[in-house]
């Protein structure tokens, strides 16, 4: 199981949980599993999120691997200038 940390603004959409455990070995699998557990997260994920895996910020690549002990944070997706 991977522990996924949500930013505070997402918690009301995930039954108030700060951290959600999901079964996943890729970024894409993780996002799918999050929505499965908490459908309320769908809109925020569709709007664009990044996933920080062990400090690396994954903006797009759904095939990036995740280990069970990875540190995972959901983040809002960057828009740069």
């Amino acid at each position: 199981m991977v522990e996924v940390n949500l930013w505070s603004g997402l918690r009301p959409l995930a039954n108030g949980e700060e951290m959600v455990e999901v079964e996943a070995d890729t970024v894409g699998g993780l996002l799918d599993a999050l929505v499965e557990q908490h459908p309320g997260l769908q809109e925020a994920i569709d709007a664009g999120v990044s996933v920080a895996v062990d400090g690396r910020i994954i903006a797009s690549a759904l095939d990036e691997p995740i280990r069970p002990d990875s540190e995972v944070f959901l983040m809002q997706r960057l828009k740069g200038g």
Binding site: G48, A59, F73
Partner: protein
């Protein structure tokens, strides 16, 4: 991908050759957005709302259509009807359409409501006067704090994203909240807590080249578009969605670009020109005036911010919290999330909490401007840290060093940092002679740190070898900061051929796979990485041709200094085979040799900077001068140091304008009062000191050569560093930007009155 294979021993990387496009640009040969012409071309002009907020009851174009030379007029009815509004950013294409051409409501002064194509630019402008629009003015709001109040007019119902807490005004389109620890407990541990309110005004990216395009679209849905943009694949995608086209049938070519700074990541006039062309069945050229650029293209958000930080006497920060309200114009999307996430990132904090509000008003849709949101956040945060240091008698650099984030620090926005170079920038700033140079009476010194994430993004690069062994390199990211030079250097490094033997072009949308916009400081990182990989792909094929010639296995050949050579004594003895010897016969030895690479690299390293500023304030007039400026920034690895320094200096120069003079001024009527460079004053060369630069190189583990983006971080510290310097020089804390002479005099007079 394992991308950390080489970090030193370079032949070309780190040198400073002239940029490949330099001669074109200084001789006028380079073609910018407005430089394109086509046979039978029409000229277009756009009618814009004179109201800040008004219902469009009726548009009558009949008189304009009858005018001499007019060939087509478009309104919202000429764009797709299939897009629908949706909450938050889900309805972004609808938002773009609504901004490109108003629907039933004009949402800001300058909002497009109709457009004309005619046989001359004058005829098009004259025809605008014949279009009759019946407006019903509505109440408006342009201030971010007022837009959040209960009695504020609602810009549009139903915009709020699902993450926005219930009970907030409908103008709050987005909400971000993050942090960790217990800030109240942290404040209780502090010896001193400073809390303050800060305000920044909207500023424009100020690119010298206005938006311009030449469009051709036939009734068969096939189109060609030439435009100045930071991302032509995005233009292609958006235009296709707004005009019901198949994406691949619209070929978009990026012109040279006369500045963008984030403002040309958006789409404004291109769909309008295409719609006119489709209707007139003629090519249509559309060029914005400067006033249109100011009124209808993206300025940055204005902000209202509250920052509170607690500190111990020894300088340890015990807790930090910030509330950042961003005015984003009449659409969702202001970077409230980035503002909040960047705010405290330079510091290792046990207790931190940040909230961002994305707020809609009757102003043009905000657009990215170099590290969107981060400079404003730094202004608030670094001003409070400066005040804490002043009141506790602490050295501002040592205090920042004491609290600095480093590898392994839990960032204020959540995850742990990988290898970062903030401490190195602070140490370099401390060692710089500027930091200890004496100040003259009336002068003050300020410092600030700044942070930006940087980005990777979808990237495709192709490289083709010519028979003479020279190289054509096609990238898809418009060159907004000297990137052709950097790409050529990276390709030269891999191929071992002279820099001048490589011609770099920005390919059109039909020639490469999708390339994300040149934004997020991603070009040298992502296109650079793809260039290296494409060159390595070509090298592999070159080695294979040599192996075939020598009759040895492919893995028995390696590439050295532009030649195939046997990889070791067991491979056999063969003289080095130069690239030109292989390419001369490539047609007969297997065909053309090309290299390519397509990926979404995800290893863009975050970056930090520290700036030192000396300023001088005239207490009689309130005029401020920046007398000395030093930028210290981590570039990871400077591929072309001159252009890295240029990015550092450019960020500082734009920050000086933002801090001291630039602002959007709205009247009570909600109309922009200063839509010209005469009244909206950007710094000119004579306003600026020589901006000194120090390149720190802490390699990014996510790039083969260690590159970190540099284009945006350079604008993160200036607002705060200048504000701290001006506050020190004036002897009064400046909490509102720009620090124009009237504001400085007002602050001095208020302080004298209070005293």
């Amino acid at each position: 991908m394992a991308l950390d294979d080489q970090k030193g021993g370079f032949k070309f990387i780190g040198t400073r050759p002239n940029r490949p496009d330099g001669l074109d640009k200084v001789t006028g040969r380079a073609r910018f957005g407005a430089d394109a012409h086509a046979s039978g071309m029409l000229h277009a002009a756009i009618l814009r709302s004179p109201h800040a907020h008004a219902r469009i009851k009726k548009i009558d174009t009949s008189r304009a259509e009858a005018a001499k030379g007019v060939k087509a007029i478009v309104t919202r009815a000429d764009f797709t009807q299939s897009l629908q509004p949706a909450p938050g950013m889900k309805g972004e294409n609808w938002n773009i359409l609504e901004n490109v051409m108003a629907g039933d409501t004009a949402l800001y002064d300058g909002h497009a409501v109709a457009a004309v194509a005619a046989t001359s630019a004058l005829a098009a402008k004259d025809a605008l006067k014949l279009i009759e629009v019946e407006y019903e003015p509505l109440p408006h709001v342009t201030d971010v704090d007022k837009a959040m109040q209960a009695d504020a007019p609602v810009i549009r119902e139903g915009v709020a994203a699902g993450t926005v807490p219930k009970g907030l005004h409908p103008n709050v389109a987005g909400y971000h909240e993050s942090g960790h620890g217990d800030v109240e407990a942290g404040f209780a541990e502090a010896d001193l807590v400073v809390e303050d309110h800060f305000v920044t005004e909207a500023t424009h990216q100020g690119y010298i080249e206005p938006h311009a395009c030449l469009a051709q679209l036939g009734a068969d849905g096939k189109g060609e578009l030439w435009c100045c943009t930071q991302g032509h694949w995005n233009v292609q995608k958006v235009c296709a969605a707004l005009l019901d086209l198949e994406t691949s049938q619209l070929r978009v070519t990026a012109s040279e670009i006369g500045g963008g700074f984030g403002g040309k990541t958006a789409v404004f006039i291109e769909p309008v020109a295409l719609a006119l062309s489709r209707k007139a069945n003629r090519p249509v050229k559309l060029v914005m005036s400067r006033a249109e650029v100011f009124r209808a293209t993206g300025p940055t958000s204005s902000t209202s911010m509250d920052v509170k930080i607690g500190m111990k006497k020894d300088g340890t920060i015990t807790a930090a919290q910030g509330v950042f309200r961003l005015q984003g114009g009449a659409f969702p999307g202001a970077p409230a999330d980035m503002t909040a996430m960047c705010a405290f990132a330079p510091y290792a904090l046990k207790n931190v909490h940040q909230i961002g509000y994305d707020v809609m008003t009757n102003r043009p849709k905000q657009a990215a401007y170099r590290a969107p949101g981060s400079p404003m956040a730094a202004f608030g945060v670094e001003s409070v840290i400066d005040e804490l240091c002043n009141q506790l008698g602490l050295d501002p650099l040592d205090t920042r060093l004491k609290n600095a984030s480093h590898e392994g620090t839990k960032a204020s926005y959540g995850p742990k940092f990988q290898r970062i170079g903030l401490v190195e920038t602070l140490e370099a700033a401390k060692a710089h002679p500027h930091y200890t140079a004496p100040l003259k009476p009336g002068q003050g010194r300020g410092i600030s740190c700044g942070f930006w994430f940087n980005h990777g993004g979808e990237t495709a690069v192709s490289l083709a070898l010519s028979e003479d062994g020279t190289v054509q390199l096609a990238v898809g990211t418009p060159d907004i900061g000297g990137s052709r030079a950097s790409m050529a250097l990276m390709a030269a490094e891999v191929l071992g051929v002279p820099y001048d033997n490589i011609r770099v072009i920005i390919a059109d949308t039909a020639s490469l796979g999708y390339n994300e916009i040149s934004h997020g400081s991603r070009v040298t990182y992502a296109s650079g990485l793809a260039t290296i990989k494409a060159a390595e792909d070509a090298v592999k094929k070159l080695c294979a041709r040599a192996a075939a010639k020598w009759g040895i296995p492919e893995d028995a050949v390696k590439w050295e200094d532009g030649c195939a050579v046997p990889s070791g004594p067991n491979a056999g003895e063969f003289p080095p085979m130069p690239i030109a010897e292989i390419t001369r016969k490539m047609g007969a030895t297997g065909g053309p040799i090309c290299g390519h690479f397509e990926a979404t690299p995800e290893g863009a390293g975050v970056s930090f900077a520290t700036h030192i500023v000396d300023s001088e304030v005239d207490p009689e007039t309130g005029k401020t001068s920046v007398v000395r400026y030093t930028v210290v920034q981590d570039a990871g690895k400077a591929i072309h140091p001159t252009y890295v320094e240029g990015q550092f200096q450019g960020g500082a120069a734009q920050g000086i304008g933002w801090a001291l003079n630039e602002e959007y001024i709205y009247g009570e009527d909600g109309r922009l009062q200063n839509p010209l460079f005469l009244d909206y004053r950007i710094p000119v060369a004579s306003d600026l000191p020589m901006i000194d630069t120090v390149i720190v190189e802490v390699p990014n583990p996510g790039h083969p050569y260690g590159v970190r983006g540099v284009g945006e971080t350079s604008i993160c510290p200036p607002l705060a560093a200048i504000a701290n310097a001006v506050s020190a020089a004036a002897g009064v804390r400046m909490r509102q930007l720009p620090m124009s002479p009237p504001r400085i005099l007002e602050a001095l007079e208020k302080q004298a009155g209070d005293g």
